[in-house]
Amino acid sequence: MSTATIALLGQPNSGKSTLFNALTGLRQHVGNWPGKTVEKKEGSFTHNGMEYRVADLPGSYSLSANSDEEVITRDYIASGDADVVCILADSSQLQRSLFMLADYAGIDVPCFLLLNMSDVAKDQGKTIDAKAIEERLGIPVIPFSATDTRSYDVFYEAMGRAINNKTRLNLNDLKKQYESIKGYQEICDLIPENALPGYSSMWAAVKVIEGDRVVSAKLKNAVGAETFAKIEEIKKNTQGAVATGGCKFAWIDDVLDKAVVSGEKKVTLSRLDRIYTSRVWGKPAVILTVLLGLIASFIPALPLMGVGSAVIAIKEPVMNALYSAGCPEVIVLVIGDVIIQSFSYIFKMLGFVFGVTLVFGLLEEAGVMARISYVFDNTMGKLGLQGKSVMPFLVSFGCTMGGAAGARVIDNWGQKVLTIALAWAVPCGAAWATIPMLASIFFGPGAVGVIVAILLTMLVHMWITAKVFGGKLVKVEDRYGMIMELPPYHKPKWGSLFRYVFGRTKETFVRVTKVILLVCGLFWLLSYSPSGNTSVLYRIGVAIEPVTRFFGMPWQLFLSYIASAVGKEGAIGVISALYNGGSLGTAFVDSMNGAARAANFNEMMLANVTKPEALAFIFAMTFNMPCVVALAATYQETHSAKWTARIVLYYTVMSLILAFIAYHIGLLIW
């Protein structure tokens, strides 16, 4: 029985494996290519009394020397072990997938072309004239669907034709394309035909221009060092892979010209993308989207906030019950003022974490987040940063630590440090849980205005920070260009979105509970004054109050501000502990009586804190050092204690300045 060997060549996902399995069934075995860890799949089948061996070549993008797979593939083909090479292309994207054919052109082995997945192309409304393509290429070309076993007759027919007629690619048009490259012809003339067995001089010349190291080394041996030095000299003036790639694509377009008719052709942006990518409206549209997102996140937050209020409602009854059961005062106070109180905040905060994560997760899933980072890319450039810096910033809206760690994608150290320094200015998830809560207590619907002010301040802050640190960290020539493939808008996958949101909320719950209970408990302890004496904190606080007043913060708020450097989650707990725990201190008790009896954070705050003070605190806390974990991450990424310390100091000073400004603006308004 006579035999022939057929090699299957195609890019990944071209349907090669499907074809291989369908042809060989169980008659296949898997080994390794000699000396390599690359998988070698071989099999066999019989058709019309003839036995065929099939080699499933590794899937690769092209036949360059970018990977072992590619070198093995082209060497195997050029060795002549296969009688015919079956090249697979994806009919649904011929423009792209014919690249393998263009890269193959010049290897002197008979071949034929399968336009696989022709059913998909048909569904897309494309009509492909395989006959016209066949005429231009000079090899059998057939529309095919590897998954449709009934269509295999045409495959066998084309294979037979290719083997019997030894059909080879018509290279004339491609040659003409290459001749337009400056230096190509000279290089080609220096390479004798068959200098590399199995490869034409055209193919070798193109690979040299592309900087293919494997081909260059072989060629140096074949033509001698002197000739090769000439080739290298000419090569220097070519545009390299960019030029040859352009030729290959131009050739593909000529081959496909009028042979492929597709339904839609013109580039159009969706209406939404036209707004987002507009120079004028892009930024306002993005800012509006973020704002609407923040406002919308209040809605899913409400139920959990309700739980928070319900928890605080049981505080009085529980405390009374414990008192009447004869429980010691300290324990009652710990349970009431620390534990129950803390859980009330924890639930309220979780409400916001849940809402913000859900809404922003939704925006991300739907593809809007990508547009946001796209729109702000040019702004990043103005800050002296790369476009990709925007990604750590976006992550920082969730968690500054994640942002600092995410800055790892930036390969330039100076830009990385600057990115982290700026990412600190982005209010994190914990801040987003605290700001709306405090703002809505004091300013009602005006809370939205506070959020807008915070966002604007954030931008200004980042701009100033970039000016302050940028000069030292970033040189102008460090900047890079970027393309972004915006993902298509799509309906969110609700299941995975909710899993993500619940996972995040649960994780926050665990972390926040620890921080709040700890910080709240510690500060309560320090402010606890059982014997009627004033507490430690009270004395310290009152002593420094003249200074802190300058920034618009009474001592309780100032200590909360200090606590917010440990973790923003803790700030609210501290406020509460200070205003509550002090109720036993003599000096404090009078001012606190009404509020303490109300056992309600909102009213307690309103009774003790003025609006300008609240505003000052919100700004001070938001732009304070994000938290200890972020500090650690910053040190880890920058590897510089000096820069980490500089950033901490800078943020402390800036947050106090911002508090001062906010306070005085507040005084003017109220």
């Binding site: 360059s64 792209r96 580039v267 990518t277 476009g387 990709k388 990604m391 972004m484």
Partner: protein, 90 residues
């Protein structure tokens, strides 16, 4: 393709659609050029797919709860998936 690279070097971000418009071609063409340039090592893909702290050297996988890539306090798994692709000129 030279023009595409020129546009990439000017430091502005563009979508594939905008690139296609500026180069007077279609998105498929831009996509295949990007694919080619990426394969030839002229441009490279920027990868930020935070899988928890899978890449962070600080905890090096210790202390992760079972079945999770994330240590407590890190970014949770599954954040930032549909963020589009970014490339930069090498």
């Amino acid at each position: 393709m030279e023009r595409l690279l020129e546009l990439l070097r000017d430091g502005h971000a563009r979508t594939l659609e905008l690139l296609a418009m500026e180069l007077d071609t279609d998105v498929e063409d831009v996509k295949r050029q990007i694919e080619y340039l990426e394969n030839m090592g002229v441009i490279k893909r920027v990868a930020l797919k935070p899988k928890g702290c899978a890449q962070c050297s600080g905890c090096s996988g210790k202390g992760h709860p079972e079945g999770s890539n994330t240590c407590k306090g890190c970014l949770p798994d599954g954040g930032f998936k549909n963020m589009g692709e970014m490339w930069e000129v090498v």
